[in-house]
């Protein structure tokens, strides 16, 4: 057979496979607002950059008449390409082929691209759209999941791993996304749960829809399993591209710097924060007043809103922000916000991203529910993450920094490299009202006018202790700065710490409280 005929044959073979599960299945997929696996890859990657592997792989199942069935590419597309020039390894499950179910060869394709990504030290993106284990393949499909989880764990902290849930992701399958760094979900399309509504109904008699059990909103607002929420697939892909621009290819690199740019003067940094420490403001305004172009790429925006995390750029360099949010629950640390902050700090540390912490919190949230939900264990994660992190750590105390909250939020004592405080900072064991009630209890009780005495004592405490100078006198704060100087000093701090080198005592790994 001459070569041109062989080429033609190849083209025909490809053409057939590109149809995936066939026209009907594709139409069904589209009717749900979903793209096909290859379409999704094409939208996400730079035009013409995708190189597909293992297109001709077929399943090997023999039981239950499976040998009579052909499953093109075995229901998953793998390959490499680029996003804004950055190399990316990717897999996308093809729901049009046997519901994207995971069998032995399907899982082998995924683990092949995972191994490739780890070996090449490039980010991995997984698009999940699968009905779950291919039951006809029995234990082989369970083995497949296990092999994937194992590789997710090995790659964790070495290469960025991003999961995109664009369809069902149920049962054991959910644990691959859960082991990765970032999970993207899309309204009405993403569904994640361990046991579905049917099982819950038969076993427990509880009725719930898929959306209410494990839809995009649930995982963005309630469980914290998802990091990014989008209304459409296109919006989701745009967010993934943005995320990729902020992070490095692997843990031995730094994120690619961008052209430095000044913040856009939307609000005057001097006027954002009210003097009264009990009044709220949006800490994201503070973040945006120091970042390049006033851009802030927020992570887990809808969950545990009392802490704000995300990426921004300072003079072109990617930084991670951790900030108490006085607008939500007064910015307290609690079970969920501790969890959220701690994991992000560890992410930044693993991928050489400096951490900037903005502090303004009244402490930990009191309550039986918090204590019984393990606020001790969860709160400890924040201490652990900050202490362990060796990337540049820059802390700005905006206003309140009380008690355990002060220590936890990137304090000098956990080896922050730079601690700045604004002139309105109150660094103390607790708020003036609480402190005065304890310290001056006798005076207040003995007074003819306890209320007046209490007020006077609160004022006395405020003047003496509710300021940044007690901590500055001990060197716990390096400098008391004007709000307007913040960006300049952040730029300086990041430049100075560019070659930061500290080493931790040798260990196989620590035992963080999780």
């Amino acid at each position: 057979m001459p070569l041109d005929q062989k080429i033609k044959e190849l083209q025909e073979r490809r053409q057939k496979i590109l149809l995936g599960g066939g026209e009907k299945a594709i139409q069904k997929q589209k009717a749900l607002g979903k793209g096909t696996a290859r379409e999704r890859i094409m939208i996400l990657l730079d035009e013409g950059s995708f190189s597909e592997y293992d297109m001709f792989v077929e399943h090997e199942a023999r039981d239950f008449d499976m040998d009579k069935k052909s499953l093109p590419s075995d229901g998953v597309i793998i390959g490499t390409g680029t996003i804004e020039g950055a190399p990316i390894a990717i897999f996308a499950q093809d729901f049009t082929v046997a519901g994207g179910s995971l069998g032995l060869m399907h899982s082998r394709k995924i683990t092949k691209i995972m191994d490739h990504a780890l070996k090449m030290r490039i980010p991995l993106i997984g698009i999940n759209d699968s009905g779950g284990a291919r039951i006809q393949e029995g234990v082989n499909s369970l083995a497949g999941y296990g092999e994937i989880f194992f590789r997710n764990t090995l790659s964790s902290g070495v290469i960025p791993q991003i999961s995109v849930i664009l369809g069902p992701c149920a049962g054991g399958a959910v644990y691959s996304p859960a082991l990765t760094d970032f999970v993207f979900v899309v309204q009405n399309i993403s569904k994640m749960f361990i046991t579905g509504p049917e099982v819950i109904k038969t076993v427990l008699g509880e009725e719930i829809s898929m959306e209410d059990l494990g839809g995009a909103k649930v995982h963005s607002e309630i469980t914290g399993n998802a990091h990014f929420y989008a209304e459409t697939e296109d919006e989701c892909f745009a967010k993934i591209k943005e995320l990729v621009s902020y992070i490095p290819w692997n843990n031995q690199r730094k994120a690619k710097p961008m052209e430095p740019a000044e913040p856009i003067r939307e609000c005057d940094i001097d006027k954002i924060v009210p003097d009264d420490p009990t009044l709220p403001y949006d800490v994201k305004d503070v973040i945006r007043s120091v970042t390049d172009k006033s851009e802030f790429f927020e992570i887990q925006r809808h969950w545990a809103k009392n802490i704000v995390i995300g990426f921004g750029r300072i003079n072109g360099a990617t930084v991670g922000f951790v900030a108490n949010q006085p607008l939500e629950m007064a910015g307290v640390l609690d079970v969920d916000s501790s969890d959220k902050a701690a994991r992000f700090i560890r992410y930044c540390d693993a991928f050489n991203i400096p951490i900037i912490t903005f502090v303004d919190l009244p402490g930990y949230l009191p309550g039986v529910d918090q204590e019984h939900a393990g606020v001790i264990r969860h709160g400890a994660k924040v201490l652990y993450a900050y202490s362990e992190a060796t990337v540049p750590k820059i802390t700005v105390i905006i206003r309140k920094a009380y008690g355990g909250g002060y220590i936890a939020m990137g304090s000098r004592h956990l080896r922050a490299d730079f601690v700045f405080a604004w002139p309105g900072a109150e660094i103390a064991v607790m708020g003036p009202e609480g402190a005065a009630n304890i310290i001056f209890k006798k005076e207040i009780m003995a007074s003819d006018d306890p209320d007046a005495t209490r007020k006077a004592k609160v004022e006395e405490y405020k003047t003496k202790f509710a300021n940044p100078y007690v901590a500055a006198a001990k060197g716990y704060v390096d400098a008391v700065i004007e709000p307007g100087e913040t960006r300049r000093l952040l730029i300086h701090a990041i430049e100075v710490s560019d070659n930061k080198s500290v080493s931790l005592p040798f260990k196989k790994h620590g035992i963080p409280p999780f």
Binding site: L204, P277, L279, H302, M329, G363, P366, D369, G434, N437
Partner: protein, 110 residues
């Protein structure tokens, strides 16, 4: 998902300081703490009552088996939390019960 305008500010009291802020649904919907009432036997898991071994007025000792609650294909033999009299049985055999439902109330006696 949220608009900046519909911010409803409320008060959160922490260590005698009253903070003006937005309260999370999780915080607002939290269950107020109730200390456990050992005279009331509640279902610890949703399931089906398959057998009731006592009648109202029966005398029981702490640890006596009083009913069988089947859940997740497991027949759980439920024991009396107290010694005393069976005051009230709030279920019938074959009832499907949710978690936390009252099953039997006792009149504890020494």
């Amino acid at each position: 998902m949220e608009k900046k305008k519909d911010i409803k500010l409320e008060i959160l009291n922490i260590n005698h300081s009253k903070y003006t802020t937005r309260l999370s649904p999780k915080y607002k919907n939290r269950e107020p703490y109730k200390s456990p009432d050992r005279s009331k036997l509640l279902s610890f898991i949703p399931g089906t009552v398959v057998e009731i071994m006592v009648k109202e007025g029966d005398k029981v000792k702490k640890g006596d088996e009083v009913l069988v609650l089947e859940a997740m294909k497991m027949k759980n033999r439920i024991k009396s939390p107290v010694s005393g009299l069976v005051k009230y049985i709030d279920i019938n055999v074959n009832d499907k019960v949710p978690k936390g439902k009252l099953l039997i109330e006792f009149n504890p006696q020494q």
